[in-house]
């Protein structure tokens, strides 16, 4: 993924041109998303394989609903600003691009802190412990694997924002911004599947500590 628009002076006819390279980058990123989907579907499969009992069928831990709902809303809102940033750079609107990128990263950070401080209970005391059998294992694995991708996304957004500030992207050639947007929407989409699987689907089992 080239973060930079460029045009080599001496183009070897055997090597791809910039526009051919961008087409390949795009397919490469989609294949990467496909690959990652196998990871996330395997995690979802794990959740439905383990979170069952003979009496209730599919179950879930009885976790606090309100914070998770709010943080999910924050993450979805961040996708809106990511899209806004991409549209802005394609219209050469630098101001909107800059603040939309920063806002996306900021909302991503709010989501991340929400997961780590509230859902994992680093600030409030955990509802679920790491060692709480299959509940703890699957909950921390799914939120943790997703959070890892959110961290990657935020880093990518900040890098691209910084390079955008230097004027490296144009309205015609801003592959890095597009790549950033595809990845961020993808990470968002994963949470759209994870949130109901963790918080909504199945009979709630009360936790005792």
């Amino acid at each position: 993924m080239s973060a930079v628009a460029h045009d080599h002076d001496h183009h070897n006819p055997m090597e791809p041109t910039r526009s051919e390279q961008v087409k390949m980058n795009r397919l490469g990123l989609w294949v990467f998303c496909l690959s990652e989907s196998f990871l996330f579907f395997a995690l979802l499969g794990t959740r439905f394989y383990l979170w069952r009992n003979p009496v209730d069928g599919i179950i879930r831990p009885d976790l606090a609903q309100i914070p998770a709902f709010i943080f999910t809303g924050v993450l979805l809102a961040s996708s809106y600003f990511m899209n806004r940033a991409e549209v802005a750079i394609s219209k050469d609107d630098r101001t909107t691009f800059n603040y939309s990128m920063l806002l996306t990263a900021a909302l991503g950070l709010v989501f991340l802190f929400g997961v780590v401080l509230v859902e994992w209970g680093l600030a409030t005391g955990p509802e679920l412990l790491l060692g709480d059998g299959a509940f703890g294992a699957v909950f921390y694995a799914m939120t943790g694997m997703h959070a890892l991708h959110v961290i990657m996304g935020i880093a990518l957004i900040l890098i691209v924002w910084n390079n955008g500030r230097k004027g490296l992207y144009t309205a015609e050639d801003h592959w890095a911004v597009e790549a950033c947007a595809i990845f961020w929407h993808y990470v968002d989409l994963v949470w759209v599947f994870f949130y109901p699987a963790l918080y909504l689907i199945g009979t709630a089992i009360e936790l005792h500590h």
Partner: protein
């Protein structure tokens, strides 16, 4: 002196030093931190959570020190470094120990890595085969035997992955008329990340070994006290990055880098096999990664994925427990199709070489092409046939038995095509052709013993016996090892410009083929007679002592024959004589260019104007330089 300087400053040596330093610093730091937090860090050969962290970070240390990330770090800073081509002012041979983006260099790097690792894995096998040659324990104890067979399994798997990557990298781009892969830097990353993965994996041998086999089933893998198991899991896991990145790269390359006129059904048939394998690699590898991560996490962090709930109070509350069969599903969802990743390129080599040596068109090109895709698709829905004895509802077993038997259909398509291609051909029995025919015979043995294991009733009897060992080795030797050797002999003059000794090549073949047949059939026989796999010993009253000794002798024969090949190839490199540009009379694009291939493969773009396999037809042309095509 210059040579020593080039070696010491190479990416390989820098990377290894970087990895060692990082591992040491991170490990010491983690241990101090954990001591300060009040944890006990004196259990076992090393402190497990610290060791895991050190191993993971050490890979980044390797890649940074080797310079794999350099261009990407510059991009983060906003620069745009061009691709570096050539040896950067150093001798040509230093390209193979430095980070190089050329697909042919990377292909050869993979090839060398594959052969080195193959020798190591083979050596381990010979050690425990010597132990098994007689009943009773002679010179190994149980732990050593367990470590040896576990290491043999995973080391050979790493060697196979390097071997297919060697073929796909070297041949893929040039066969479709491209100058390189779509993502040359990512390609270099794929190769270089497999080196620190291999060091982590090999470190398992010195930090206590492990006794879980290469499958690492919980609950044994989550409770064993042989701490090499963590390094094995992490080395296996990190190798997955290499698989995913190179699979992705080859898919995109094939979609976008084909020469003008090269429609999908006019690509050399090997490319179809390579792409099918690459699609599998790019996707399913994720699930084994997850399975391995779960074991690592259960051991190091206490996440209990695989521990069933036993506390009656918790069961009363409705709490769910962990489940060891979950691991088996995730593991085999990858690891069964993984064997198709290994054999598809090999079967592609067979289809690629047969028309050349029979001087006839490949029979049923489209069927062969689509059978590769078919094997990849059907092969992805058969995984639970490894679990017939694992405690699965019978309603799950029957569909998996049926889908398993369905694999025979696309595989059968390939066999019939090979037979029809050979039919009434003008055969030439050069060394590569001999290995192709050997591959077909051995793969047939593996294929015919497959349905016996795919059928529930017979599998119940033969599960975990030496019959499985015989079947598995036949499929992998027939589907990978023999075709890989055929490919090495066939493209050796193309890659090096030198010709090996035909006599030594034939000697290699005539030792290895009977050696393998004896080994595999005898393994199957001892399995039927009651020999269990993964067991260090057997009773003399089983009546299989002679068979066991025979297997050991056959194994030694195979080992010696491979040494003959390496001797043959290395000696040929020193010969003054240049190989002819197209020794086999091939029509494939790579034989249009001089040997060894130039930096960008062709002088200029090429164009496809005919069918790829019209051997024996006088007025048919496959590829021409685009400048000569006239349009």
């Amino acid at each position: 002196m210059r040579t020593l300087y080039y070696i010491v400053t190479s990416a390989l040596v820098r990377g290894l030093i970087g990895q060692g330093i990082t591992a040491f610093v991170v490990y010491q730091g983690m241990v101090s931190l954990r001591n300060a937090l009040g944890y006990d860090t004196t259990q076992g050969v090393y402190d497990e959570p610290s060791g895991v962290m050190a191993a993971l970070i050490s890979v980044i240390g390797f890649l940074l020190a080797a310079g794999v990330f350099t261009d990407w770090l510059k991009w983060i800073g906003g620069e745009d470094p061009p691709l570096k081509h050539g040896a950067q002012g150093r001798p040509e041979w230093t390209r193979y120990i430095n980070v190089d983006v050329n697909h042919k260099v990377i292909g050869i790097q993979y090839g060398i890595a594959s052969m080195v690792i193959l020798l190591l894995g083979g050596l381990l096998a010979i050690i425990f085969r010597l132990e098994l040659a007689m009943p009773g324990l002679q010179f190994l104890d149980g732990d050593a035997y367990n470590t040896l067979f576990s290491a043999h399994g995973i080391i050979m798997i790493v060697s196979i992955f390097s071997g297919i990557a060697a073929m796909i990298n070297y041949l893929g781009p040039v066969m479709i008329g491209a100058s390189d892969m779509s993502f040359p830097r990512l390609n270099a990353f794929s190769y270089w990340v497999s080196i620190p993965a291999a060091t982590v994996l090999l470190s398992a041998l010195v930090v206590g070994g492990w006794d879980t086999g290469w499958v690492a089933y919980p609950t044994h893998s989550t409770t064993t006290t042989m701490l090499g198991v963590q390094m094995f899991l992490l080395g296996f896991y990190i190798n997955g990055f290499s698989s995913i990145a190179s699979g992705l790269n080859m898919v995109v390359t094939t979609v976008y880098m084909r020469a003008k006129g090269m429609s999908y059904f006019r690509m050399p048939i090997f490319v179809w096999a390579a792409v099918s394998a690459s699609i599998l690699q790019a996707t399913i590898t994720q699930t084994v990664g997850l399975a391995l991560t779960m074991v690592v996490a259960q051991r190091a962090l206490g996440l209990e994925f695989f521990t069933p709930v036993t506390d009656p109070a918790l069961i009363e509350l409705g709490f769910p427990g962990g489940d060891p069969t979950l691991y088996q599903h995730l593991f085999w969802f990858y690891s069964h199709p993984a064997v198709y990743v290994w054999i598809l390129p090999g079967l592609g080599v067979i289809s690629e070489l047969l028309p050349v040596f029979t001087r006839k068109p490949l029979f049923g090109y489209k069927w062969i092409a689509l059978s590769s895709v078919g094997i990849a698709l059907v092969g992805s829905i058969v995984w639970a046939h490894h679990m017939f004895t694992s405690g699965m509802p019978v309603t799950w077993k029957i569909p998996f038995m049926i889908s398993t038997l369905f694999v025979a259909i696309p595989t059968g398509v390939k066999f019939f095509s090979w037979v029809a291609t050979i039919w009434e051909g003008k055969m030439r029995f050069d060394t590569p052709m001999l290995f192709v025919l050997g591959a077909i015979s051995v793969f047939l043995l593996g294929g015919l013993s497959g349905p016996i294991l795919g059928t529930i009733a017979t599998d119940m009897h033969l599960h975990d016996s030496y019959f499985v060992v015989g079947h598995f080795h036949a499929t992998i030797f027939g589907g990978f090892v023999f075709p890989f050797f055929a490919a090495i002999y066939y493209w050796w003059p193309k890659a090096t410009g030198k010709m090996y000794s035909e006599a030594l090549g034939k000697l290699h073949f005539w030792i290895m083929v009977p050696g393998f047949w004896v080994m595999s059939l005898t393994q199957m026989r001892t399995g039927v007679l009651g020999m269990r796999r993964r067991i260090a010993d057997y009773g003399p009253d089983l009546g299989i002592a002679d068979e066991q000794a025979l297997i050991t002798v056959a194994t030694l024969a195979i080992g010696w024959s491979i040494l003959i090949m390496l001797y043959n190839l290395i000696v040929s490199l020193r010969s003054q004589e240049e190989a002819v540009p197209n020794p086999w009379g091939s029509r494939s694009p790579e034989f249009m260019s001089p040997s060894p291939l130039p930096e960008f493969n062709f002088d200029g773009p090429i164009q496809v104007i005919g069918e790829p396999y019209d051997y024996g037809l006088d007025d048919s042309t496959y590829v021409v330089p685009a400048s000569a095509a006239g349009d």
